[in-house]
Structures are given as structure tokens and as C-alpha cells.
């Protein structure tokens, strides 16, 4: 190989500034998650659909307030220009009721999810962070709680406390907070042992800084996913309770009790089931798919 004369080379000047330059924009965890979520068309579509349903839930009942008035001369009409979804056995406007049900069901689902999540995070957080015998005791308590049949607690509360949506939400929360607490605890136990936490600790980071900078952000992903998934689960639980007559009380409407009364009559009046079931089905589908997308997007392991 022939040698090349030295003067053919010009040295590149040392430019510290440009060497440090980051060409691609720096992305925080959340920005990166958002970027990945945006790539997931199904999840994005679901998200916009949920946003739309939220708007329906908030403003719909104001536009169509006539959900409880009976029209006994116009019972069981099919969909028509006055009653878009038809009327039920009391001549109530099914459209207004489905819209009202949207509000009630989403409200129940969201509130119950937020409450259980908040409680579960605190409980699981304490248990997971402190560990040791406190953790053992708190986990045993959860084991016991989840072994008592839910129905006893539900029926007891629904019968003893004043009837209404707050009682319903309370009863559902009391029987289902343990799952999220377990998840949060599991997450914390796992994250606590990670090398970056060890590094932070050896570098002298305070417990507060570790919790704020490492534990919470890293556990937040699964918590948010769980929150999203809990909404349809609670909507379903209310529907099941409606099926055994413990759901929301008349004249209030929820997707659950609309679907339940629809099931009784759909052989002759299919629209009574189809409309509420469609709202329920598509919304829970969207919530589930969005939750799945969110999980993918928030999972650091999915980063490429």
C-alpha cells in the first residue's frame, strides 16, 4: 500500500461546541411516549373517540334533558324523527336516556377508577417503599380482603347505606382497590432494586429526590394504564349490578340498566338493546384499545 503524504491531510479543528451538539431533539420520557402513541393509529382513534364521548357526557344531557318523562301514549315506538332511538315501555325517549346513561356510566367509571387508583397508589406505595414487616402485614390484609366474597360487601353496603350513586361508587371501590395497590407495590419493589436507583443513592440523593425523580415517574406508566383499563371495568361492574338489581336507581339511566332492560325485550324491540349496547360496546372497546396503546407507549422496554 503506497503511503499518502502527510500534507494531503488537513486536521479537523477541535470544536467542542459542535461535538456536544445534539442533532435530534432531546425527548423526555413523556414526549417519547406521546410520539410512540401517535404512531399507533388505533390508540389515537380511540383517544379521539373517548374525547368525543366525554363531550357527549358533559353537554349531551343539557341538550336532551327529557330522559325521565313518560309518554304513555307513545310507548315502544321504533326509531323515528321525533324519537331518534325510539321509545321504551314507558314512552321515554331512548336517545335522551342513552345520552344520560353516557354521562352516568362514564362518571361512575371515571370516579371509581380515580378513587381506587388514588387509594391503591398510596397503599401500595407505602407498602412497597417501606417494605419489611409493614409490607407483609399490609399485603396479608389485601389477601384477606380479596378473599371475602364481594357480593356480601356490595349487598350489605347497598342495603345499609342511603341508596344512590355515591353509595354505589363507594361499594364498588371498596371491593376493587386491592388490584391497583398490588400493582403499585410490585412496581416499587422492582424499581427500588434497579441500578439507577442504586447509583442515585450512592451519589447521595435524598429519599425525597429518589421518590420524586425515579420511583414515581417509573411507576406512573403502569398506573395510568391501569387507570384507563379500570374505567370500562367499573362501567361493566355497574352493568352487572344493574343485572342483579343493585345498579343505579330509577329514573336514572346508565348503559348498564338500559342494556339490562333492553335484553328483556330485544326479541321484539331490538332497538332497545342495540343502541345502549352499541354505545357501551364501542366506548369500552375504545377505552381498552387506548389503554393497550398507552401501555405500549409508556413501557420503556418498547423504546427503539
Amino acid at each position: 500500500m503506497s503511503s499518502i503524504p502527510k500534507d494531503k491531510f488537513t486536521p479537523v479543528p477541535k470544536d467542542i461546541a459542535s461535538a456536544q451538539k445534539i442533532h435530534r431533539p432531546s425527548l423526555s420520557y413523556w414526549q417519547d411516549a406521546w410520539r410512540r402513541l401517535k404512531l399507533n393509529k388505533v390508540a389515537m382513534f380511540s383517544m379521539w373517540f373517548i374525547a368525543f364521548m366525554a363531550i357527549v357526557a358533559i353537554f349531551g344531557p343539557m341538550l336532551f334533558p327529557d330522559y325521565r318523562d313518560n309518554h304513555l301514549d307513545q310507548t315502544l315506538l321504533g326509531p323515528n324523527s321525533r324519537f331518534w332511538f325510539g321509545t321504551d315501555e314507558l314512552g321515554r325517549d331512548l336517545f335522551a336516556r342513552v345520552i344520560r346513561g353516557t354521562r352516568i356510566s362514564l362518571f361512575i367509571g371515571l370516579t371509581a377508577s380515580l378513587i381506587t387508583t388514588a387509594f391503591g397508589v398510596v397503599y401500595g406505595g407505602i407498602s412497597g417503599y417501606f417494605g419489611g414487616s409493614l409490607d407483609d402485614a399490609m399485603m396479608r390484609f389485601i389477601d384477606i380482603i380479596s378473599t371475602v366474597p364481594d357480593m356480601i360487601i356490595l349487598i350489605l353496603l347497598l342495603v345499609v347505606l342511603p341508596q344512590g350513586i355515591p353509595t354505589l361508587i363507594l361499594a364498588m371501590c371498596l371491593t376493587s382497590w386491592s388490584g391497583i395497590a398490588r400493582i403499585v407495590r410490585g412496581q416499587l419493589l422492582q424499581i427500588k432494586e434497579q441500578d439507577y436507583v442504586l447509583v442515585a443513592r450512592t451519589q447521595g440523593a435524598s429519599a425525597g429526590r429518589i421518590i420524586a425523580k425515579h420511583l414515581i415517574p417509573n411507576a406512573l406508566g403502569p398506573i395510568i394504564v391501569r387507570l384507563t383499563m379500570a374505567v370500562p371495568a367499573f362501567i361493566f361492574e355497574e352493568a352487572f349490578l344493574s343485572f342483579i338489581n343493585l345498579g343505579v336507581r330509577i329514573p336514572e339511566a346508565s348503559w348498564g340498566n338500559l342494556g339490562q332492560s333492553g335484553v328483556q325485550q330485544f326479541q321484539q324491540h331490538p332497538y332497545l338493546l342495540i343502541f345502549p349496547a352499541l354505545f357501551l360496546c364501542i366506548t369500552t372497546l375504545a377505552l381498552n384499545l387506548f389503554g393497550d396503546g398507552l401501555r405500549d407507549a409508556l413501557d420503556p422496554k418498547m423504546r427503539k
Binding site: R68, N70, L90, V159, I250, P251, Q264
Partner: protein, 536 residues
């Protein structure tokens, strides 16, 4: 393309079915002698002395025979007893037992079996819930309360073929008590051999009725087979009754349309579907009246005008026709039409006692009542409690809307399990309850004595000395005409004071597959009764 593959699949299935004995593609055929019937639930208690529910009584009526049984017209007729004599004072019944009448184990059915049945029902150790049905028998109540030995019961066997029953007081309806489930016979030998499981399985019960239980899979089905040893076996046309225990109404309907069931109840909302499919609907009254019960110890409901306002604000005709959509009748008094008066129906003789749907009067009464009670309109809060159930969701919403339209009040609606509702009523923790009552025996008294001061079923706490006197006098009045007049006066008083507001008299509707004849439905006694049923 889709059509073709569908056809292919069906061909395969049809072919497959020719190999399969049962399961896919099986056909049961019409099976002439077997009746397929849905009881709706497992009969929870088949020990006759302990039974309290209609499903158990329905099966018992077909399998165990008492002294008398109800005939087609609902009159007590000869059963295990061929005839009976009543003493002049109406306090002693002497039954003559049927000769050559056998239990399914071959033992003869004797007077001693009845003595043992009555004694067992009243023995405090048996703890029979319906023992009080037999309290008209001499010393029965004391024995049941544990203050007298069981041997003192006024039921004695004289030889094997005579049963003498002494009563505490003349009881004109005693034969309908003798036809009741609690009064069925009990074979002592068999019972003692199966003490712990008596009535729990097909083999641990003994039969003397038109059918025997030949198969019993709990919670699933029962097979009743014609009893060849039954004294009137030649009158029984059915060979078998296949009894299903399907609780879900929609599933039952589908099973009926698939011809897997021969009989179906038809709720109001389904009537059109059944008639559209060509089924003929039959109605019968089960004798139940449904009404609003007001808590008279409540500050608001203690006021008669407020109670009347809530009653007048209900449009019963619309409620029955448009909301219930079945063949029930609007009730404008308490006693249902099936109960007898002096000559014909009590209801027909007395007529309606309250007004239906009078919003103007209702509004006026409410305003006056609230003023009397010293409660401002804005502070008046009302709550109605109904039992669980889908139908009640609709019906409660309808009442709620009527009160809103006609009275301008928002009534809170609560639905709760039956036991919780009764607890609230016992605790006097309610304002309005929607409830019903069915007759125990064939007399208006079965409804009217409920509202005596302190009666265990008088949850309204209604208390009227005049009313108590009328009812108590009627109970000992020997002259039936005068007695009826007292009952009429009592009902009028009740409807004026209005501790309860009747809403409707229930009618039940049912249908059967073509070829089924002679099904008997009734309000008092085992229902339905397939004694006279034939199936082509």
C-alpha cells in the same frame, strides 16, 4: 360464496346428526304422554310439613295427597278421605279414609299417617314455619308454643279408617286448610328411617299422589312419573311430567318457542309476540291485590289527606293498560274479585270504593294535608320502596312520573331485596311501600284481618278501635249474612282511612302448545295442576 359455504356447513351438520344419537341435531319428537313444564326454580323444601313456597307446593300437590284435594273448579273434593261429616256445632270433622289406598312403598295410607303429619307440623322441635295454618285445630297453638304436650292435639285416629279432628272454634274454611301442604300425611316408619334427608332426594320421600318423583337432579330437572298405585290412576292421562327449573325468563321463552316446553307464562310485554306466533292466551286470577302501603307513624304519611292525595294521583287504568300491558284489573278496593261475598263475588256486591285518577282532588288534598301536618311544600320529602325486579323498575318509574305530573312532587324511589324491604317495614323506617297480598283461604277475611291493630302483617301501623271491633265481631258471628255486612263495613272504613291504596288485582296469562288440554290454574292450592291434563 357465503351462501354456498353456509349450505355446506349445514349439509355437514345434517349429515353429522344422522350419526349422533343425542346432542347435536337431536329430536325429541312430540312424545305424547310427557308434559314438559318449567317450574322456574328448584323446589326448596319438599318435606310437606316444612314447605312454605309455591314451587314446592306445586310438586307436592302432584305427588302427595291430603285428606281432600281441589277439584277442577277449586272446590275441596275427596282425596285420601272419601267423605267427611261436620258436627252440628261446626267444631268436629270426622273423615273416612279411602280403603286400599297405598303409599309408594306398599304401606296402606291410614288415619295414623295424618295424625303423625299434623303432630309433626305442630311439634315445636320440627319448627314448621307454616304451623300457624293449623292453629284452628284444638290445642294446636299451645302445643306449637311448647306449653302442652303433642299428644294433646285434637286429631285422633279411630281405627285405621276414621280420622277425627276437633277444632278450637267453628272454622267454615277448614276443608281448604285440610287441602294445604302442611296438612299432608307423613308415614312415620318411612320418615324415621330417613330422618335427616326426608324430602331431600327423590328416594327419601314417599308418595301417595297421582305421580311419583322418579328422578331429581337438583337445580336442573325432576321427572314425575304416573303412580300406577294411585287410587284414581285411570283418570290420569299423562305418563310423565318433565319438570325444568329454568329461572331466566328470556331463556324459558326461547325453550317454549323451540317446543321444548309445553306451557309458558306470558308477561304483558311479550303478549304480542306470542299471539303473533299463533298462540292462544289464557288468563286466570291468582287472587293477589297490589297496593301502596303507607307508614301511618310517619309525620307526612300519618296524615290521611296526604295518603289520599297519593292514591288519587295514580291513574290505575293507564297504569294497568299502558305500563303493565297485561290483563290485570285496576283495583279500587282491597278485596279481589275472586273471593266470595253473600251470593256472588264480594267485589261485585260491594263495588268500587275509591276514585281513580283525580289529580285536581289530589292536589287539593296534598296542600291541605301538608298544612295540617305543618310541613312546608318545599320541605316535604317522599320515598317509595319496591322489591327488586325488572318489572318494578318500569312500574316504579311510572308511579314516580304520575306523582310528578299530578302532584308536582318528586318521590325518591328505592329498590331493595325483599328481606331488606321487610326489615325496613318492621323497623317502621319507610313512607310508602309497594307490596302485594295473596289469599290463604277463600274468604275476604284473609285480606281484612291483616289491618287489625298489632297484626304482624300490618306494617302500616293502622289502628282503629272501630275497625278492630268490626273484624273481631265478624270472626265470631254465626250468621253469614250479618258477617258479610260487617266485612263490607270494615272494607269501606279501611278505604276511607286509606292506610293502603290498592292499585291493581293481578291477572296471570299463560299459553300452551297445541294439543295440550285440561291444565288447571288457580289462586288457592297447587298451581298449575296437571291432574286432568292431556297431551296429544
Amino acid at each position: 360464496m357465503i351462501k354456498r359455504s353456509l349450505a355446506l356447513i349445514l349439509t355437514i351438520l345434517v349429515l353429522a346428526t344422522s350419526f349422533a344419537g343425542c346432542g347435536i341435531g337431536a329430536s325429541t319428537g312430540p312424545k305424547g304422554g310427557t308434559l314438559n313444564f318449567n317450574l322456574g326454580s328448584e323446589p326448596p323444601e319438599m318435606d310437606p310439613q316444612l314447605s312454605t313456597d309455591t314451587s314446592s307446593f306445586m310438586i307436592l300437590n302432584s305427588t302427595i295427597e291430603g285428606l281432600v284435594r281441589y277439584d277442577k273448579e277449586g272446590k275441596p273434593s275427596a282425596g285420601a278421605a272419601t267423605k267427611w261429616e261436620v258436627s252440628a256445632d261446626g267444631k268436629t270433622y270426622t273423615f273416612t279414609m279411602r280403603a286400599n289406598n297405598k303409599w309408594s312403598n306398599g304401606d296402606p295410607v291410614t288415619a295414623a299417617d295424618f295424625v303423625y303429619g299434623f303432630t309433626r307440623a305442630l311439634d315445636p322441635a320440627t319448627a314448621s314455619q307454616y304451623a300457624y295454618i293449623l292453629y284452628d285445630i284444638k290445642n294446636a297453638q299451645k302445643i306449637n308454643e311448647g306449653t302442652m304436650p303433642v299428644t294433646d292435639l285434637g286429631v285422633k285416629a279411630v281405627g285405621t279408617d276414621k280420622l277425627v279432628i276437633e277444632l278450637e272454634r267453628p272454622t267454615p274454611y277448614f276443608l281448604s286448610i285440610a287441602a294445604f301442604g302442611t296438612a299432608l300425611p307423613c308415614n312415620q316408619k318411612f320418615f324415621e328411617a330417613n330422618k335427616d334427608t326426608y324430602g331431600a332426594e327423590a328416594a327419601t320421600l314417599i308418595y301417595n299422589g297421582p305421580f311419583t318423583i322418579s328422578e331429581w337432579v337438583h337445580e336442573d330437572h325432576m321427572v314425575l312419573t304416573k303412580n300406577p298405585n294411585y287410587w284414581n290412576a285411570k283418570a290420569i292421562a299423562l305418563d310423565k311430567i318433565q319438570v325444568f327449573m329454568i329461572a331466566d325468563a328470556a331463556t324459558t321463552k326461547i325453550k317454549f318457542f323451540n317446543k321444548e316446553l309445553d306451557i309458558a307464562g306470558v308477561p304483558g310485554v311479550d303478549m304480542k309476540e306470542f299471539t303473533d306466533k299463533g298462540y292462544k292466551l289464557n288468563d286466570y286470577s291468582d287472587g293477589a291485590t297490589f297496593y301502596l302501603e303507607f307508614n301511618t307513624t310517619d309525620k307526612l304519611m300519618g296524615n290521611a289527606k296526604i295518603r289520599q292525595a297519593f292514591s288519587y294521583a295514580v291513574d290505575r287504568k293507564t297504569y294497568v293498560e299502558k305500563v303493565m300491558k297485561d290483563h290485570s284489573l285496576p283495583a279500587l278496593a282491597l278485596v279481589p274479585p275472586i273471593l266470595p261475598g253473600k251470593k256472588e263475588s264480594f267485589r261485585k256486591e260491594v263495588g268500587d270504593l275509591i276514585n281513580d285518577n283525580d289529580p285536581a282532588a289530589a292536589k287539593k288534598l296534598l296542600a291541605e294535608g301538608l298544612a295540617e301536618a305543618g310541613v312546608a311544600v318545599a320541605d316535604a320529602k317522599f320515598t317509595i320502596i319496591m322489591d327488586d325486579g325488572d318489572l318494578n323498575k318500569t312500574r316504579g318509574a311510572a308511579l314516580q312520573d304520575m306523582w310528578k305530573q299530578n302532584l308536582g312532587v318528586n318521590v325518591e324511589f328505592q329498590q331493595m331485596p325483599f328481606k331488606a324491604r321487610l326489615q325496613k317495614m318492621t323497623d317502621k323506617d319507610f313512607q310508602i311501600v309497594f307490596a302485594g297480598w295473596g289469599p290463604d283461604y277463600n274468604d275476604p277475611m284473609t285480606f281484612l284481618d291483616m289491618f287489625l291493630t298489632g297484626n304482624g302483617n300490618n306494617h302500616t301501623s293502622y289502628s282503629s278501635a272501630a275497625y278492630d271491633k268490626l273484624i273481631n265481631d265478624a270472626k265470631v258471628e254465626a250468621d253469614s249474612g250479618k258477617r258479610m255486612d260487617m266485612l263490607v263495613a270494615a272494607e269501606k272504613m279501611l278505604m276511607a282511612d286509606m292506610p293502603i291504596a290498592p292499585i291493581y288485582f293481578r291477572m296471570r296469562t299463560w299459553t300452551a302448545q297445541t294439543g295440550i288440554e285440561g291444565v288447571v290454574r288457580r289462586a288457592i292450592g297447587g298451581d298449575p295442576d296437571f291432574y286432568w291434563t292431556t297431551k296429544k
